[in-house]
Subunit: 452 residues, 2 copies
């Protein structure tokens, strides 16, 4: 059995390791155009922030460790073509600059996603970065040493994580978001809260600008020196990080005739099989089933990649496993704020045709007399007709992400508000108020149902 895996960051690395455990005799080869394999891309902002000194901490498993397990890792080897007819892939060695064909019995596509680069003039200056690979981590961290100012373009997850990283390094930072809202995956009222709460942190050196589009970079041969927005504002800077989202790497899959889903990522079934026999896909390049709606969604997150890689490996090696999908649970941190969510937002729920009822509470995360009590704002959304919970979001300095996980569990179980409000959550003053904010939000939501 010859298993070829294209890509080796999270899904690909997991698929390789799991496949070897499932079928020790299998010949397993990872081909990646990257210079590194098996690393925590999600950890890059925390390396740049300075939580640990050595970028190698981000590496989960080295090519040597893979080799010792009998898995061959081919770094800087780009697969440029999949030939399903002959069950081969065409590999381009980036260093040797030669091209060769490799046969497979089973192929796992884990090509991931790549940053979207918006159309900004002069984007070839030095010190304009994206945040995706180990080189990005090393280069940004190095550039920070002689930098005083930074501009971040984009106010989603990575933009906010980079804001934290820069501010903690005493870099005067400007974050510019084209839309009117930070974290646009949230409902607008919750996005507004993110902005408000970040603005209220006066003791940190940063600036957030929403509703403005960066149109041009200026610089010298040493690198970028300023960015300009459409309305002519100019921001001097020593480096720029572009965090305007990612798109799935699906070109070679498309060329091979593999079907994409409505999200634009590779369509797979629950066994991670693509539309072509013996070809699996997992990780950021493929879409998922959204458990709440049973419709496709694209959630390029490390936790999903890990599970999908595992599932693809079990099936590719002759076993049986199903990945039932995602709840769109996610969390990020920016300075003292935690932002987390699961399920549908209210706007998404309405797009899906639900009539919604929602409730929002702002409460202490612990009993108010505990010295580290902090606020959290929780929003819960339910289906007006069935009472079924659809999703929730949390923003605040308090402990909120694990509360979102309780809600995720409720979504998994298909609980209604009426059922969820009976929950018995742990209570002690260092951990929550007598009635947990999550339960409190559910009580208010139930009251809205009863009075409707």
């Amino acid at each position: 059995m010859k298993i070829v895996i294209i890509g080796g960051v999270a899904a690909g690395a997991k698929a390789a390791a799991k496949a070897k455990r499932e079928l020790p005799d299998a010949e397993i080869d990872i081909y990646t155009d990257d210079t590194h394999v098996s690393y925590s891309a999600c950890g890059i902002p925390y390396y740049i922030e300075g939580n640990f000194a050595d970028y190698r901490t981000l590496l989960v498993r080295s090519p040597e460790e893979f080799a010792s397990e009998g898995i061959n890792v081919h770094l800087q080897h780009k697969v440029t073509k999949i030939i399903p007819e002959t069950k081969q892939v065409l590999v381009h060695s980036l260093q040797g600059n030669n091209v060769f064909l490799v046969s497979y019995d089973k192929l796992v596509i884990a090509t991931g996603a790549r940053p979207i680069i918006p159309p900004i003039k002069n984007n070839c200056f030095k010190n304009i970065f994206t945040v995706r690979k180990i080189e990005d981590a090393i280069n940004i961290r190095k550039k920070l040493e002689d930098s005083k100012r930074a501009v971040i373009i984009g106010g989603g997850y990575i933009g906010l994580e980079m804001l934290e990283a820069f501010v903690r390094n005493n870099i005067i930072t400007t974050l510019i978001e084209r839309g009117n809202y930070l974290m646009p995956v949230l409902d607008e009222d919750m996005s507004e809260l993110v902005k408000e709460q970040l603005f209220s942190i006066h003791d940190e050196k940063f600036e957030i600008i929403t509703g403005h589009t960066v149109t041009e970079f200026c610089g010298t041969e040493d690198g970028v020196t300023s960015v300009e927005t459409e309305n002519g504002q100019v921001f001097d800077t020593d480096l720029v990080v572009i965090c305007t989202g990612v798109r799935p790497n699906v070109e070679i899959a498309v060329e091979a005739g593999i079907k994409l889903g409505i999200t634009g990522a590779i369509k797979v079934n629950k066994r991670m099989e693509t539309s072509i026999k013996d070809i699996y896909a997992c990780g950021d390049c493929c879409e998922e089933n959204f458990i709440v709606t049973n419709t496709p969604v694209w959630m390029p997150l490390g936790s999903n990649a890990n599970k999908e890689g595992r599932c693809a490996a079990i099936n590719a090696t002759g076993g049986f496993d199903e990945f039932s999908g995602v709840l769109a649970s996610a969390v990020t941190r920016c300075l003292r704020l935690t932002i987390s969510m699961t399920g549908l937002t209210e706007k998404e729920a309405q797009k899906h045709g639900y009539e919604t009822i929602s409730a929002k509470v702002t409460k202490n995360d612990k009993v108010g007399y505990m010295p580290d009590a902090n606020n959290i704002t929780l929003k819960l959304i339910a289906d007006k007709n069935t009472g079924k919970l659809l999703g929730g979001q949390a923003v605040g300095a308090g402990d909120s992400d694990k509360r979102i996980n309780s809600l995720a569990t409720a979504l998994l179980g298909g609980l209604t508000v009426e059922e969820f409000v009976r929950n018995d959550l742990t209570y002690a003053p260092p951990f929550s108020p007598t009635i947990d904010p999550l339960l409190n939000a559910a009580q208010i939501l139930r009251a809205k149902f009863n009075s409707k």
Copy 2:
């Protein structure tokens, strides 16, 4: 409508406030033998620890505030008899030392629980305390000021919370637990872990002794000076705190002919009605329905008291509400350890006749490279025959109690291991590893099922 409430700490205070909101014209009287009303008894260890300076922070609502809402609070008025035949209670004014009858239309018994005092010789010395009331808080805090050593008797929730409080005040503390295990509500393997992990904290001045019974106090007229155990060990001390559990205050209910349940606490239905018409009970004096097994359980916890007080008030004022019961979710903290649980332990599950399968994992609560990553050990228990989750426990320095809440939600939804393992929990390096320890434990549990 005349509503009389006996007791006013958590359930009684909540019942009074809620009843007034539901039925503003009702005449509501709280009679309590206590000197305070409406306070956070759970917060007492945190006051003693020094998290806040003024004990009045523990008071939720003063008698004056109640009065301004039209609720009469009668402090130091002990109800000594319930007379259901004439719908009256006999009240003994502790200060005036007079006795009088009060009529009610609806009676709410919220008499709470009281500390169990084990049979130890000479327990009338000064500076031997229990931890229940505001006076206890004030007296212990005051005594700490001229104390160097303390002995805690009992290694359950309150014993461990007092250990933390004393150690943080630089008091050299000895905790003596009669049984072989701290936190005996846990499974023994998890209790063992509590002891191990507390023992491993070498930089704090405390000692834990299990398997020894205190038999005698020695002292002078200034107060206790030492405690002696059955095997003749003597521990010098400046104060003693007895934390050997509580029992429900049910005597006046029993005398009135109100039925107790098999737990020894007052039996109520889902509307908090006792066996006698127009008499409700709520809080630590009554038992609950255990949702997992649908059998009675006695869980004297503040969160339950609050919900039960609310439910009793709605029903007593002519509304309709049901309290469906508890999952036995609880949490406590001792120094750097968090201990939390929900549902059945493995030993309890087996007592209830379940054949169990359990899984236990020890993992970081966050990605290991984050500077504040800490270990947690999670144990999950499931029914071998149906796969249904039955309960779980968590011990460790890491963030674990909210993970237990996700499990509580799964118990509420009646989820099986196979269903729960599909959960999508939030992931980012500051919050969890790629695969959350809770999910990891569930995966291991599922694997045990598949290989059984």
